[in-house]
């Protein structure tokens, strides 16, 4: 089987039962993504697949052979952090750090959803999306932090969203095609 992860091609012969998460961690040495619950409840395994955040533990590797996959390793490097990684560092958005790769991938995917104008459960008028703290909390509810670093996580995400400027937070025109998957990968 062939996989495209962080813009690199990998070949791996894995059992059909292998999850996308186990493929990365156990077979390809990409251990940045973490296994928490392994049942889609905690979000520690969150990756970006074709630009969208998903739970890699609840997806079979065999079903992702044609996809563009981005893990935390593909977002930034120690020398050149992704803005979301830098913001988590500067706001101390973690304590033990186990959920952090999933939080960061999820936050990057989440902000892209906001750019597309997607509403959330707490959005008042579904046509008027703005990124309040309540919106950030609701949209990140699929990522659990048992150290409860939530206030600092929200601070970090708010800072990155703010870097877009006011214009960027407004909803994209409805007709706009989805953004290409990996704008940020080269960072």
């Amino acid at each position: 089987m062939r996989f495209t992860i962080n813009q690199k091609t990998y070949e791996a012969d894995v059992d059909v039962r292998t999850s996308l998460l186990d493929l990365c961690r156990e077979h390809l040495g990409l251990t940045g993504s973490k296994k928490g619950c392994d049942h889609g409840q905690c979000g520690a395994c969150t990756m970006l697949v074709n630009g969208r955040r998903i739970n890699a533990c609840l997806s079979l590797a065999v079903m992702h052979q044609d996809d563009e996959i981005v893990t935390i390793e593909g977002l930034g490097t120690v020398e050149d952090l992704h803005p979301m990684q830098a913001a988590f560092v500067s706001h101390d958005g973690y304590q033990c750090g186990y959920c952090t790769p999933g939080q960061i991938c999820s936050a990057v995917g989440m902000l892209d959803e906001v750019k597309k104008g997607w509403a959330s459960h707490v959005t008042g008028d579904l046509d008027q999306v703005s990124l309040t703290d309540a919106e950030i909390s609701e949209r990140m509810s699929g990522n659990i932090c048992r150290c409860a670093a939530y206030p600092n996580i929200v601070d970090a995400i708010r800072e990155v969203a703010g870097q877009w400027g006011e214009q960027a937070i407004k909803p994209a025109p409805r007709s706009a095609a989805e953004q290409p998957a990996q704008e940020k990968v080269s960072a």
Binding site: G43, R53, M63, G117, W118, A119, G142
Partner: protein, 321 residues
């Protein structure tokens, strides 16, 4: 997880002939396979079929491909504008990650979250027909008070399907012999009775290809969900409501309920109790009486009966304000 044969279907015909269990998003099925609650011998990957579109129909309604992810359906501008109850229901369910993966067809077919169904050490007539039900007499706080049987008190977990039931959706399928069926959502689910393992009227190999919504209904639309935490939790009680008030009188009403029964629940008597009447507490109480006339609690879930009454009345106030 038990091993299985994996096959990717390139056409609908190939999928329906593959004689296996369909997998699209997999967010529910793989979870159950890890626990060996589900042990399919063959998985048929339908995720690459061309069923990803949402199209307008001649009658003014929408045709939704079975593979449209929940997040795309919730964000579709036509759904946001004309079927707000559906957007709201979708956004009230699961997490951002799960909504990105979960499909429209899979959401309709997701299994109950009854603890005893998930726990293979427990007796469960849905998982192991004839074994018994440990939920009755057990920890049944989240389980059903309507439509139950002596064999099963599981609830259907979907929010989306509750809104679709209020919107009179039609489920379009294709069978292995090429026959296509259009099944009203009102006829799609089965009560548990003596066979709680059979949840829908679908035949083996029959694939959901689309869900059709009729032209948008007149009136105001609301989805109200009550749950144990504010986000990322299943409904204890939910109400999808569409009501039109004309000249001070309820002209039409569609009300469907989640968290109460083994299927997204709808009872015409609830709507009949308020249609033709001026909105009032008396009318709303009558609707709640109609909904809960046959409600039966099982101990830990007794609270759902008064909770459903209050949630319905609060929703009717919203809808007619």
């Amino acid at each position: 997880m038990k091993t299985f044969d994996y096959q990717r279907a390139d056409t609908i015909e190939a999928a329906t002939h593959a004689n296996g269990r369909f997998i699209a998003g997999g967010t529910n099925l793989l979870d159950l396979m890890k626990l060996q609650v589900e042990t399919p011998e063959r998985l048929v990957d339908i995720s690459r079929l061309d069923l990803n579109g949402i199209e307008e129909r001649e009658d003014g309604g929408l045709s939704i491909g079975a593979l449209v992810p929940n997040s795309d359906l919730a964000a579709d501008p036509r759904v946001v504008e004309k079927y707000e109850v559906l957007s709201r229901a979708l956004l009230a369910g699961a997490s951002g990650q799960l909504r990105n993966k979960a499909s429209t067809g899979g959401n309709l077919l997701q299994r109950t979250r009854c603890y005893y169904f998930y726990d293979t050490a427990s007796r469960c007539n849905k998982r192991a027909p004839g074994s018994g039900c440990d939920a009755i007499g057990g920890f049944n706080r989240i389980l059903a008070v309507l439509g139950t049987s002596e064999q099963c008190i599981a609830t259907h977990p979907s929010d989306m399907a509750v809104a679709m039931r209020a919107l009179d959706a039609t489920i379009v399928t294709q069978k292995a012999d090429g026959d296509k069926r259009r099944i009203s959502i009102h006829d799609f689910y089965r009560l548990p009775g003596d066979t709680p393992q059979i949840e829908t009227v679908l035949d083996a190999g029959e694939l959901i290809t689309h869900v059709e919504l009729p032209a948008p209904p007149a009136g105001k639309q609301v989805y109200r969900k009550v749950r144990d935490r504010a986000s990322y939790a299943f409904a204890l009680v939910s109400v999808a409501g569409v009501i039109e008030v004309k000249d001070g009188v309820v002209a039409s009403a569609a009300l469907a309920f989640g968290g109460l029964g083994p299927m997204p629940w709808r009872n015409p008597a609830v709507e009949a109790a308020i249609v033709g009447r001026a909105p009032s507490t008396e009318a709303f109480e009558a609707a709640a009486d109609a909904l809960l006339a046959d409600a039966k609690g099982y101990g830990s879930n007794d609270f759902k009966i008064p909770l459903a009454r209050r949630t319905l009345i609060a929703t009717l106030r919203d809808l007619t304000a």
